[in-house]
C-alpha cells in the first residue's frame, strides 16, 4: 500500500487520483475489501450501488480525517477514524433507503459492513491522516472509483452468466441456460480470479520491454 507523504506545498497531481483506478487499484492490485467485492456483486446494479456507497464513505471520511489530522492524538487515531467512518456509513444507509428500498434490500447487511471495509480505514491511516485535504479527497475519489470499477466488472460478468441479463435487461435470450453458480459466492471467486489474471497479464505485458 502506498504510504508516501505528499509535500504540502505540492499541487494535487493527476497521479494522486489515477493511481486508485489502475496502478494501485484497491481490489485488482491491493486485494483489499474482498468481503463486499465477493458478496454483493451478483448483479450490475448491486455492484455499482456498493461501489458508489463505499466511494461516498471513503471521500467523506478522508475529508474529515484530513481536516482533523492535527487535532487527533496518535494514541486514539484508529478509534477516531472508525467513529468518523461509522458516521458516514450510517448516513449512507439512510440515503440508500431513501433512494431505493430494492437496492437496500439487495445489499442487506453489507451496507453496515462498509464500516469494516479495510480500504477506507487503510486510506484514512495511510493517506488522509498525513496529507492536506485536497490531496486526500483526490486520493479517496480515485480509490473509491477504482473499487466501483472492480465491483462493476464482477457484477457485469456474474449477472450476464448467472442470469443472462445486464442491469436487469435480458441480453442472452431465452435459449441461454443461466449458470446458477455465478450468482452464488463460488462464482464470485471464479470471476475475481479471471479479472486478476487479466490484470496481471496486462501489467506484465506493459512492463516487458517492447
Amino acid at each position: 500500500m502506498s504510504d508516501h507523504k505528499v509535500p504540502a506545498t505540492q499541487a494535487p497531481s493527476a497521479e494522486t487520483f489515477l493511481k486508485g483506478l489502475w496502478k494501485e487499484n484497491p481490489v485488482f492490485v491491493m486485494l483489499l475489501g474482498m468481503c463486499p467485492t465477493l458478496a454483493v456483486t451478483n448483479s450490475v446494479i448491486n455492484g455499482l450501488a456498493m461501489g458508489l456507497a463505499t466511494t461516498f464513505v471513503l471521500v467523506m471520511s478522508s475529508t474529515i480525517v484530513s481536516l482533523a489530522r492535527r487535532f487527533i492524538p496518535g494514541e486514539i487515531r484508529i478509534a477516531s477514524f472508525i467513529l468518523i467512518i461509522a458516521t458516514f456509513v450510517t448516513v449512507v444507509d439512510y440515503v440508500i433507503q431513501a433512494v431505493s428500498l430494492d437496492i437496500y434490500r439487495a445489499l442487506g447487511a453489507f451496507i453496515s459492513l462498509i464500516v469494516v471495509n479495510c480500504i477506507i480505514l487503510g486510506r484514512a491511516e495511510a493517506f488522509a491522516s498525513k496529507n492536506p485535504v485536497r490531496h486526500s479527497v483526490l486520493d479517496a475519489t480515485g480509490m473509491g472509483l477504482g473499487f466501483t470499477i472492480a465491483c462493476f466488472s464482477l457484477g457485469a460478468v456474474r449477472e450476464l452468466l448467472g442470469n443472462g441479463t445486464f442491469a436487469g435487461i435480458p441480453v442472452l435470450g431465452s435459449a441461454f441456460e443461466p449458470w446458477t453458480i455465478m450468482a452464488l459466492p463460488g462464482g464470485a471467486f471464479f470471476v475475481l480470479g479471471g479479472w486478476l489474471l487479466l490484470f496481471s497479464w496486462l501489467r506484465e505485458r506493459k512492463a516487458a520491454p517492447a
Binding site: I72, G74, E75, L83, A86, T87, V91, Y94, V99, L101
Partner: protein, 237 residues
C-alpha cells in the same frame, strides 16, 4: 478512571505520563468532540431522509397489497382488537389488515403481513385472502435473505408462485379453526387445494413460507371471517 490520575500531571513535562505524552483529558476531549460532531451529522441525515424512507416503504407496501389481492382498486386499513377488526386509528400498533375493494366497492380480499424464520434470516411476506373463495389468492415476499438462485426462488419461481393463486384456507363450519391447514408436499405431488408444492433444492425456504402461512392463517382467518360485516360495510363509505 485513569483519567483522574493523569489529568493533573498532563501539563507538567517532568511528570511520569505515558511515553507518547498525550494527556487523557485531551484524548477524551477529542473523542467527545468528534462524537458530538458525528452525532449531529447522523441526526441531520436521519431527519432529512426520513420522509423519503417513509414514502418508499408506504409505496412498496401499497404495491404489494394490490399485487396480492387481484381485482382490488382501493383499500382500507383495519387493525385487530380483541379478535375483531376495527379501523386502524382505534388500535394503533396492532397487526394491520388491508381490505381491498373493487370498483363497485365490493370486498375482494384482505391482505396481511406475516413473517417467520427462513434459511438465512427472517422471511417477511404479505398474502391476500379472499373470504368469498375461502382461499389465499396471492403471496409476495417482502423481505428475505435466502440463498441467491435457490432460496430466492420463493420469490421468482413461477411454479411455486402458482401455489398461491388459489390456496384453500377454510374455517370449519363449527368453529374457529382451519379445516385443512396448509401443508407442504414434494414437487409434483399436489393433489389437494390446501397443499403447497415445494421447490427442488429449496426445501427449507419452501417450508419457511408454508409455516409462515400456516401460522398466520390460523390466527388471522378467524378474525377476518368474524369481522366480515365490518369489512364489507367499510367499502360502501
Amino acid at each position: 478512571m485513569a483519567h483522574e490520575a493523569t489529568a493533573h500531571t498532563g501539563s507538567a513535562p517532568a511528570a511520569p505520563v505515558p511515553a507518547a505524552g498525550t494527556s487523557s483529558t485531551k484524548m477524551i476531549m477529542t473523542m467527545g468532540t468528534l462524537g458530538l460532531v458525528c452525532a449531529v451529522l447522523i441526526v441531520a441525515a436521519f431527519q432529512l431522509t426520513q420522509p423519503a424512507i417513509e414514502r418508499n416503504k408506504a409505496a412498496a407496501l401499497e404495491r404489494a397489497v394490490f399485487d396480492v389481492i387481484p381485482g382490488a382498486t382501493s383499500k382500507v386499513v383495519f387493525a385487530e382488537k380483541d379478535g375483531r377488526l376495527v379501523p386502524e386509528s382505534e388500535a394503533p400498533g396492532a397487526l394491520r389488515y388491508f381490505a381491498g375493494y373493487d370498483d363497485n366497492q365490493r370486498l375482494v380480499g384482505v391482505a396481511v403481513e406475516a413473517s417467520g424464520q427462513g434459511f438465512a434470516d427472517l422471511v417477511k411476506v404479505i398474502f391476500g385472502y379472499a373470504p368469498d373463495r375461502g382461499a389465499i389468492v396471492g403471496m409476495k415476499v417482502l423481505e428475505s435473505h435466502e440463498t441467491p438462485g435457490l432460496g430466492t426462488k420463493i420469490e421468482t419461481d413461477a411454479a411455486f408462485r402458482a401455489n398461491f393463486e388459489a390456496l384453500e384456507v377454510k374455517l370449519r363450519a363449527s368453529g374457529n379453526d382451519i379445516e385443512n391447514p396448509i401443508v407442504l408436499v414434494k414437487p409434483g405431488k399436489k393433489t389437494n387445494p390446501w397443499e403447497i408444492e415445494a421447490i427442488t433444492g429449496a426445501t427449507i425456504s419452501s417450508t419457511a413460507v408454508t409455516n409462515i402461512l400456516h401460522n398466520s392463517t390460523a390466527r388471522t382467518v378467524p378474525v377476518i371471517m368474524n369481522s366480515l360485516q365490518t369489512l364489507e360495510a367499510n367499502g360502501h363509505e
